[in-house]
């Protein structure tokens, strides 16, 4: 039922909102959460528990528990108590079979005595493999919300933000901290997860009249509005602390990543439930939850209430209940003796019966089991012990105000110290990281004025106005420590962890199993592992574990607190999902030519042109062999190495030697790593004494470039290295007609074999585009690589295609190139080599200079050769050319032993027979030797070692 104003500070009664829950239509107001709106409609059953499917409802009203998890549209596990409603919102309960009200899985609880903590470790494993059967049943019952595989990829993004001082928590302590910090000329950001600032003063009652709290908030709000350099973020959740004060803050569909010089944690405290039989029934909630319902949402939390408490807070709850028209049947005060507190006096004056020194034995459910019907209280005779005499009290609402724990997650993430203190009967922040301050309830300061003062001091310290703040002069904390609000019951069902349905016995039994450490109890019992991550269970769990394990509570730590503070959507973490793509200057020409594109790291390249792959490869290969083809090789890396020491530098980096290389010539380059493994290759073109242009493999340029920079930072040679990869478009025009085509558009250089021989390089204009001409070729035909400014790449491509049109020039893709190079016996690094291949294994001893004191891998290669070769890369053909074709990576096997593998194989269009490269044992590597390949279905295929190149062994074609 709704209460009249001024109750309901957040709801807009002029803005009704219609939504559905479990298919039924309900009405709430703008500002309502799902749970508050349902409560206003007297709907208290919101969810079902994880293990026993017990009815669950509102507990904290602050999103700190997992009792109100619902399915909201395509979002599973939404928290109804903080999830705002809007028109048309469709909410469903989750984790039940049948309906939420009549959950057919309630039977499971009947067997609870057979399902002790960790029961699944005790059974379902005999005979061997049977778990695979049982697991399906367990899995079906486990889990909570459903994920809908048709859920669209929502729009989430991110933004960076910066502040000198970030204040997390917009309660009075946080507000005061922000105001004080802002007095220094610094940027302050104040982050509050609720829609409004003020924190607990928006709902708790700190005085008899219940007016001073709201007044204080208004005053501070006024000052905040006046301050210029404070940015206030509401409905903004800081989900964690990361190194150097990097704070993810979730706002709507964005994750803001706030970098702060100083962080002030003013996140307050979380009220803790009492532990007694049936303490999880709907209708049993925290005192603060009832007050949130009354004051923030204007909802009457029940008709007849009992308040369990100690100290003053609970009496404030009782007064609020009375003001809200709730009958307060009794106050169960757990403290042995009355505290002298005006709110207590007022409650007594207003005729509320106080059961002093009483505890809670049990709660009883309504006949349908879905709501609280009454509680049984009894005098406390010791820690968790109750006298036999007892009082049964009818009520539909029980407010628990029996203790708090600081919301210190951020302090813990920053490796501050949080541990149990007997003095307060709760966790306490003992130490905080540098560049972090704490203020208010999170630091154990409950007195409002002192919390504000503490906030001011934190703000001053954080903004550098006060380097080392003196500890806040606190009024001597005369409050008694929080009571031991755990009352075991012989019949059990006293829930310590609502997420996991764990009772006192479960914790006790975990300790009895030998798990003395809270971390081990967690792993065995899953306590604090559920959706609320121990926010309302860690305190009671630690109390029980330490007492049962006979370990001291003072100074005891809970389980490690890790991010996120509250669950984060994958979408928020992913954001837009930036994944850079590199396209060559001719990319669109390929697409226009109907190329099938393929991903090569960051690059996207043409695999082949046309729809029919087989035909395309055949045509492309034959066009290169018999006519002329054009391939885009812009993805090859290009590095300029310039300076007097350029040759010396290449000598140290690559395995061959370059000191004597002539200007105008290209020479192969091979790079190994320090362990002797081949890592990259290309050619080095010497355009002048102190200028080499070096190419790398596709995707290799960054690594090679970085390696060069790193080593020259140590060698200090007089060279400069520039990565031109993206800046140069490159094509390879190859085939017997390549020269004829080139002569049409490149008149500056004599292209004749004599003037511009194989492995020659020139600078010349091609189609009036300044270019580097390389007479090198991977494909084994007369050919030219043309490297030209990327901005003119498309024009270059067009010019070559036009010039070649009369010859029937065709573009060819990476796949045809792979075939062509294989016919020519060239290896592809990372295809024909692997993570350990050294040059000798790849038949490249010829590429290893023996007159240099150093190149990467020199010593490692020599050392490995002392062991002798263990494998060798050879060319091969098949004994039955028309027999079945093995595939790449099929194994070479001898007497059951793996001696190698096929690295490349193809049925050569040119030679019209299978050819390939394979690793074999050294003693099977002589030309003509036969070896066996284990093909499809394990069928052995005989192969014969063949000399490479397979095609044009005299190299007459590429040198013509």
């Amino acid at each position: 039922m709704r209460l009249a104003a001024p109750f309901g500070s957040l709801i807009d009664r002029d803005a009704p909102v219609t939504f559905t829950f479990e298919g039924r239509t309900y009405q709430g107001f703008a500002g309502d959460t799902v749970a508050s709106a349902l409560a206003a409609n007297d709907v208290w059953l919101i969810s079902r528990s994880f293990k026993y499917h017990r009815p669950r409802g509102v507990l904290t009203m602050s999103g700190d528990d997992g009792n109100t998890m619902v399915q909201v549209g395509q979002e599973p596990n939404g928290l109804a108590d903080i999830l705002p409603i809007h028109d048309g919102l469709a909410v469903m309960g989750q984790h039940y079979s049948g309906s939420l009200v009549a959950d057919r899985d309630r039977w499971i609880e009947k067997f609870s005595s057979f399902l002790p903590v960790g029961f699944y470790y005790r059974a379902f494993f005999k005979p061997k493999g049977i778990w695979n059967f049982w697991e399906k049943l367990v899995r079906a019952k486990a889990g909570l919300g459903r994920v809908d595989t048709s859920t669209p990829h929502g729009y989430y993004d991110k933004a960076y933000a910066f502040a000198d001082v970030a204040v997390i928590g917009g309660g009075v302590a946080g507000m005061a901290a922000a105001l004080e910090a802002a007095k220094a000329d610094v940027e302050v950001v104040l982050v509050e997860r609720q829609p409004m600032l003020g924190g607990s003063l928006n709902y708790t009652r700190i005085d008899v009249e219940g007016t001073s709290g709201p007044a204080l908030v208004q005053e501070l709000l006024g000052q905040l509005r006046a301050a210029k350099n404070i940015t206030v973020m509401t409905e903004a959740t800081c989900t964690g602390w990361f190194t150097d004060n990097f704070l993810p803050i979730v706002v709507a569909n964005r994750m803001v990543k706030l970098r702060a010089g100083q962080v002030i944690v003013a996140t307050g405290a979380v009220e803790q439930p009492a532990v007694f039989r049936n303490n999880d029934l709907p209708g049993i909630m925290l005192g603060s939850a009832a007050q949130r319902l009354i004051r923030i949402y204007g909802v009457k939390p029940g008709q007849r209430a009992v308040v369990a408490c100690y100290g003053g807070t609970g009496y404030g709850v009782a007064l609020d209940l009375l003001d809200a028209g709730v009958e307060v049947a009794a106050i169960v005060d757990l403290s042995a003796t009355p505290t002298d507190n005006p709110r207590r006096q007022a409650a007594v004056d207003r005729g509320i019966e106080v059961l002093q020194g009483y505890g809670l034995r049990e709660a009883n459910a309504r006949r349908d089991g879905a709501h609280l019907a009454g509680v049984v209280a009894a005098p406390i005779t010791g820690n968790g012990e109750l006298a036999d005499e007892q009082r049964a009290i009818e009520c539909d609402l029980l407010c628990m105000s029996t203790g708090w724990t600081p919301a210190a997650s951020l302090v813990a993430h920053a490796a501050g110290e949080v541990s149990y203190a007997e003095r307060s009967g709760s966790f306490m922040v003992r130490a905080v990281a540098k560049n972090m301050q704490v203020a208010g309830a999170v630091s154990g300061e409950w007195v409002v004025d002192a919390a504000i003062e503490e906030g001011r001091q934190a703000g001053a310290a954080a903004s550098g106005q006060d380097a080392n703040p003196v500890p806040v002069p606190r009024a001597p904390d005369d409050r008694p420590p929080q009571p031991w609000a755990i009352f075991p019951h012989e019949k059990g069902k006293e829930f310590v962890d609502f997420d996991e349905d764990l009772t006192v016995a479960d914790i006790r039994n975990s300790v009895a199993e030998g798990f003395g450490d809270i971390e081990l109890v967690k792993r065995f019992s899953t306590v604090v592992m559920g959706p609320s991550q121990g926010r309302v269970s860690a305190l009671n769990a630690l109390r029980l574990v330490q007492s049962h394990a006979g370990r001291p509570l003072e100074g005891a730590r809970g389980t490690t607190n890790r991010p996120p503070v509250t669950p984060e959507k994958f979408g928020h973490l992913s954001g837009r999902g930036f994944e850079p793509v590199r396209l060559t200057a001719m990319h669109d020409r390929h697409v226009e030519a109907d190329a099938e594109m393929t991903v090569a790291g960051a690059w996207i390249r043409p695999a082949y042109y046309g729809a029919d792959r087989e035909q395309a490869l055949q045509d492309e290969v034959m066009c290169v062999r018999n006519n002329v083809g054009l391939i885009d090789v812009s993805t090859l890396g290009g590095l300029d190495v310039r300076g007097p020491d350029a040759a010396e530098f290449l000598d140290r980096v690559y395995t061959l030697s370059y000191a004597r290389q002539q200007v105008g010539r290209a020479r192969y380059v091979l790079m190994c790593d320090q362990s002797g493994t081949i890592t990259d290759d290309g050619v080095a073109c010497r355009f002048s004494d102190d200028n080499f242009y070096v190419t790398t493999t596709t995707g290799g340029s960054d690594a090679v470039y970085r390696t060069m920079l790193l080593w020259n930072a140590q060698w200090r040679l007089d060279v400069d290295i520039t990565n031109l990869t993206g800046g140069l478009a490159a094509v390879n025009i190859a085939g017997p007609n390549a020269r004829a085509v080139m002569e049409k558009i490149c008149s500056e250089v004599d292209l004749s074999a004599e003037a511009f021989p194989y492995m020659g390089v020139r600078l010349a204009r091609v189609a009036d585009i300044a270019a580097r001409l390389l007479r090198v070729g991977f494909v084994g035909e007369l050919g030219y690589e043309i490297h030209a400014p990327a901005g003119m790449g498309e024009a270059l491509w067009d010019a070559l295609m036009d010039a070649g049109a009369e010859f029937g020039i065709k573009p060819f893709g990476v796949e045809a190139q792979r075939i062509l190079r294989l016919e020519k016996g060239h290896i592809i690094i990372t295809q024909d080599t692997d993570g350990l291949t050294h040059p000798h294994e790849a038949n490249m001893a010829w590429a290893l200079s023996r007159r240099k004191p150093f190149y990467f891998g020199r010593r490692a290669i020599a050392a490995q050769m002392k062991r002798g070769l263990t494998r060798k890369l050879v060319g091969f053909t098949l004994a039955e050319p028309d027999g079945p074709l093995p595939e790449e990576s099929h194994l070479v096997v001898r007497d059951g032993e793996i001696t190698g593998r096929v690295t490349s194989i193809v049925r050569s269009p040119t030679l019209n027979r299978p050819i390939g490269l394979a690793f074999v044992a050294p003693d099977q590597s002589e030309t003509g030797q036969s070896f066996s390949i284990k093909g499809h279905g394990g069928r052995m295929i005989e192969a014969l070692v063949a000399p490479v190149p397979f095609y044009d062994p005299e190299n007459s074609r590429q040198e013509m």
């Binding site: 990097f246 140290r652 061959l656 320090q674 930072a713 200090r716 492995m759 010829w846 023996r850 004191p853």
Partner: protein
């Protein structure tokens, strides 16, 4: 995210950088024993202590040295490589270089 004080670019998110591993000394390239060389290539101090490391600021292609504590992740100091490597380094030549062409044109 951790911040790295780059000598060239100032305080930056560490995701802008690549760690090049500990700064180690190369044994004499020609005269060192195989096992010394193996140790140089494979073995790591991997100490839980302040370690001198190579770091690269990727966008600017700038390698520098950082002194970082590998347990606390605290970066105590960063500076240009020239501070550790002030002058040109040359390898002592092979005593009798075999007369091969090291590959042919």
């Amino acid at each position: 995210m951790k911040l790295m004080p780059c000598p060239l670019n100032g305080l930056r998110n560490i995701s802008e950088f690549v760690c090049g591993g500990e700064v180690t000394e190369m044994p004499p390239a020609v005269t060192a024993s195989d096992s010394d060389w193996a140790a140089y290539v494979f073995m790591e101090n991997n100490a839980a202590d302040v370690v001198r490391e190579w770091w690269l600021h990727v966008t600017s292609g700038y390698w520098f040295i950082a002194e970082r504590h590998t347990a606390s992740d605290e970066i105590l100091r960063t500076y240009p490589a020239s501070e550790l490597f002030p002058k040109r380094f040359d390898f002592e030549p092979l005593d009798d270089p075999t007369e091969d062409q090291g590959g042919s044109d």
